[in-house]
Every structure is written in structure tokens, then in C-alpha cells.
């Protein structure tokens, strides 16, 4: 499926909401029943993959990080004792750490932006050079932000989380997230405006 990011994320969340009714039970079953775990996994695969791809702008790396995230979930699942909503926040937190670790390593290698730039064109789908250019600019601007700002921007604009939900994922307060979001957005706009793209 190829679609605008915002539209898509709403669909994902609408589906998620209709599932929460029995997810608490599913989490309990998944502790001892691999089939139930597989169901739980399939319910959250899309959310994790999309979060990773929106953070990294690279499908291949996003798949690798998604694998890492779910292996970590398997490894640590016995320690998770929260509700279904907390499960989603928990996996967002694991994914955030995994993506940030990847970004740090990539930054050390100095190849992140170069690599990301190289894969942009292939992923933009026949929607004219304007969209392609915008995506490239967005990607460069987002990846130039601090990892925490990137996380907040992605969770807010791509995953459509509320500030309180982002605060839960980051272990921060609503107020801090609000101010960091404003700062991140200002930096992003400045960066993109400097590249000639009005946002």
C-alpha cells in the first residue's frame, strides 16, 4: 500500500483502538502460549515497522530494527506487566532506544545522511519531483535533529500520539514534551526554510 503518511497513521490507530478490548487477555495468554504471542506480534508489527521507517526513512534498516525490537520483546516479555496501552508504549520505548542506538552508531560511522539520501528516490512513488524533493529535505532536516527531538516529531506527526502519550513513552512530563516539540519544530522549519522549502 502506498499512501500519504498522515492518512495511513490514522488508519493504523483506528484499527488499534478497536482491538484493545481483548488485548489485555491476549497479553496474558501470550506469556505461556506462543500462538497468542504470534497474534500479539502481528497486531503490533505494522506500528513498529512504520515508526521505524518514519524515524529512519529507510525500509531495509527499518526492517532490521523492527526485528531487533521484537526479539527484545521476546527476551523481556516476562518483565512486562502493564496494560495493553502500556504495552504499546513499552514497544515504542524499545523501538525508540533501538532506533537511537542505530542512529548513534551510524553517526559514528558518518554515513547516515549519505545513506539516507541515497535511498530516498527509490521510495518516493511516482508523485512528481516536488514530493520527492520535499521528502529528501524533510529527511535531511529531521535526521539533523537530536534523537530525542526526532522521536517527539515522529511520534507526534507520523504516529499521531497525544502529548501525554509521548510523555509516557519518553518518561517525561507533558510540559517538557510540549516545549521540546516546539523547539524541534522551530529547528526543523529553520533548516528547511534555509534550504528554500517554506514549511
Amino acid at each position: 500500500m502506498i499512501t500519504g503518511i498522515c492518512k495511513l497513521r490514522r488508519e493504523v490507530h483506528a484499527n488499534s483502538e478497536s482491538r484493545v478490548v481483548d488485548e489485555g487477555q491476549l497479553i496474558e495468554q501470550a506469556r505461556s502460549n506462543p500462538e497468542a504471542f504470534a497474534r500479539l506480534y502481528r497486531r503490533h508489527y505494522d506500528v513498529v515497522f512504520r515508526y521505524c521507517v518514519h524515524r529512519l526513512f529507510d525500509r531495509q534498516i527499518a526492517e532490521d530494527i523492527t526485528s531487533e525490537v521484537f526479539l527484545s520483546v521476546v527476551e523481556n516479555f516476562t518483565r512486562f506487566k502493564g496494560s495493553e496501552e502500556q504495552f504499546r508504549n513499552w514497544i515504542y520505548k524499545i523501538a525508540t532506544n533501538a532506533v537511537n542506538n542505530h542512529l548513534r552508531k551510524a553517526a559514528r560511522r558518518g554515513d547516515l545522511l549519505k545513506h539516507a539520501g541515497g535511498t530516498t528516490a527509490g521510495q518516493v512513488v511516482d508523485c512528481g519531483s516536488s514530493s520527492q524533493e520535499k521528502l529528501a529535505l524533510l529527511k535531511e532536516a529531521v535526521l539533523s535533529l537530536r534523537p530525542r527531538y526526532q522521536t517527539i516529531m515522529t511520534l507526534r506527526f507520523f504516529e499521531n500520539l497525544k502529548l501525554t502519550e509521548i510523555a509516557e513513552v519518553l518518561g517525561s512530563s507533558d510540559g517538557t514534551v510540549r516545549s521540546q516539540l516546539a523547539r524541534a519544530l522551530a529547528k526543523l522549519r529553520k533548516k528547511m526554510n534555509a534550504s528554500g522549502q517554506e514549511v
Binding site: P34, A38, F49, R50, E63, R79, G175
Partner: protein, 399 residues
Amino acid sequence: MDDNEKQFENFIHQIKFDDSPDYDHRDTLEQDLLAAIQKQPRQRRKPIEIWRIIMKSQITKLAVAAVIIIGVILGLSAILEKGATSAYAIEQTIEAMRNIVTVHFFAKDWNNRGFETWIKVNPETGENDYHYLNEPERGQISISTPEITYFYHPKENKVRIARGQALRSDIRFGRYIEDILDRVIEPENGEIQINKEHDPNTGKEVIILWAQSPSNVMEAFIDPETKLPIRINFVKAVLGQAVKSIDEIYYNEPLPEGLFDFEIPEDAQVIREQPPLSVIDNPNYGISAEDLTRDEARIKIIKEFWYDVINKDFESAHMLLPVASVKRLEKVFAEVAELISIGEPFEKPNINFGILTPVRVRFSHGKILELYQITHFRRIDGKLSCVLAGEGQPVKWIE
């Protein structure tokens, strides 16, 4: 969402990007995960249970066996933190905190009001023996010692004096992490996670101790060298937990000279309170207990409180539980749908200002919360009345 955010959202609306998952990858990964599950030991020990065993064991209480215990604990911690940060164990932080003599920190409450605190810790008990609290936004400086407590309002040049240590906390700073885990997280069968992350504030790698239960979520940022927390956030906390975040912490700094020696300024208005003045002794709050037995009054105030909460009349509920603001009550109890039971009262040694009553309420999502409400009786101008004075730990969800 403000205009800037809307504008940005419009911008990303215009971008089309293939972010659809590849279901071949999903299916392959599923097989890998199932294989990983099969490889795991069947009887995998749960970290929190290990924690409980350690904390409740008599052995841990024997100082003479400390050396052996540390060895055991470190061994268990290797299991506990498998896959996280094997070089770190929570017990290292617990031990480090037990050696604190003074602590100086800057924190925020749930209304985002900043305050500064100095504590002289009793290393034997971990208790906050001497306490200095500066709350500029409230315009109050409080100095509390085991003998006396002063509340000074510089602007009004007014001093209130209370007998004894009136700045009390269930959580001892010298035992901060263990008290949080033992008294707050563990009773609700919470979980802990340990990760390492780059801390943009310090530019260093820090250990993140994430402790979570249904009602409480704490995140402590721990210095890998000293093993002491450098920052603590509460993402979520039960009613009565005053501190939202401790943003800067300094350990074992020399105390400023005379910090706890308060001299009453000249011409200051002095009000001597006995027992320590607080909102729970304000006659504007609570209900009259005249013509009622204490038990009848206790049940009446609890019933009235929950009646107000269920009817979303949080202002009235606040008049019965004044230690919680209207906003906080609304945030915590907005979804309460039914009062299920009021249990028999009992006393707790560390709560000397009221009796506790176990209360169960059902939320609209169906879960039941159990909490221990404290009823405080006072006689003002010869008339008996009572007020709700908070909750004792643990506050927990009952499935």
C-alpha cells in the same frame, strides 16, 4: 495543535512515501521469534520475584552477612538484567544511596512549581532528619528538624512553628530507590527495566532505571560511575506523591553554615501550631463529626467523597480531601464509576495523623482500584470534625 504544528502537518500531508510493511518480512520474523521463544528456558524466573525474594529475605536484614549477600545479589542481578546492562545492578545504587550524608536537589511538583531542597540524611535509618525546603513560587521557606519545624513567609514576615519533624515523607532519601521499589512498585507487582542511553543533558551515557506499576511510573537516570541518580522523573504517580521530577541532584555537599538554624526575624508575626499546621487542620475543610461516632463519621466522609467524585463534583470532593487539588482529583479519579466497598479501619505506625480505611472503587473501564484512605479527626474550638488526609501505600489495581 497550534498553527505551527498544523502547518507542518499540512506539509507532510503533501509527501507520499511508501511506508507499507512487507508482509514477507513480517512472516519470516514471526518464525524467528517463535524459534527464539522455543529456545528460552521454560521456567524463566521473573526479575521482580527475584527482587521480592531478596528484599523480604531475613538474610538481607543481617548486616553481618552483608559481604556474602552483595555477592549473591550481584549474581542474581546478572540474571535480572540479562540483555540490558550486565555491568550494572540496582543493588549498586541502593548501596551507594545508603552512604549519602547530605543531598541538595532542585525539583518540581505536579503543578510544575520548582523548589529547592537540602536534606541531612541519617545514614543509619535513611530518614530525612534535617530538611530545608525553599518554594519561591509559594513564597515559603520551611526548615524542619527532629525537634521543631518553621514555615517562614518572607513577604508577609510570618513564621509558623510546629512541633517535631513536620516535613514528612513516606520515601526516605537515603533509601530512595529501595523505598520506591519496595513500597510503591512491588506491591502492585510492577516491573523494572534497565537500559543505557546517551543523555543529551550531560553528554554522557547513563543508566536508566524504569520502574513501572499500574499506578506509578518512575524513571531514574543513574550515573554509571557513582551509581547515584542524577535525575528522577515520575511519569505517573498516585495521589499524595508530591514530587513530579527531581531535575538536579548533588550528593554529600557541605551544608551551608546555619542552614537548619532558623532565627525568627524581628517583628515577624509568629504562629505556634500544635499539632503541625496543615491544610488538614483547616476548619473550612471536612465534615462535622458532632453527634456521630468516629466510625459513623469515617464512613460518612468516605461515602460523601466518592459520591462527589462519581458525580464529577471535584470541587466538593476537594473540600473533603484538601491535600489533593481539584485538578489532580479530576485527573486521577475522572473515570471512577462506583464505590464498591469500605473496609474496617486500622492504624499504621508511620501514619500518626489518622486512621486508614481500605476502600475499593470501580473505574468505568471495569478495573477496581484499592486504596487506603486516611481519615484525620481534629477538635477545633471544642467541636469534633474530620477530613480525608490522603492515602497510605499501597494503592493498587485489583483485577
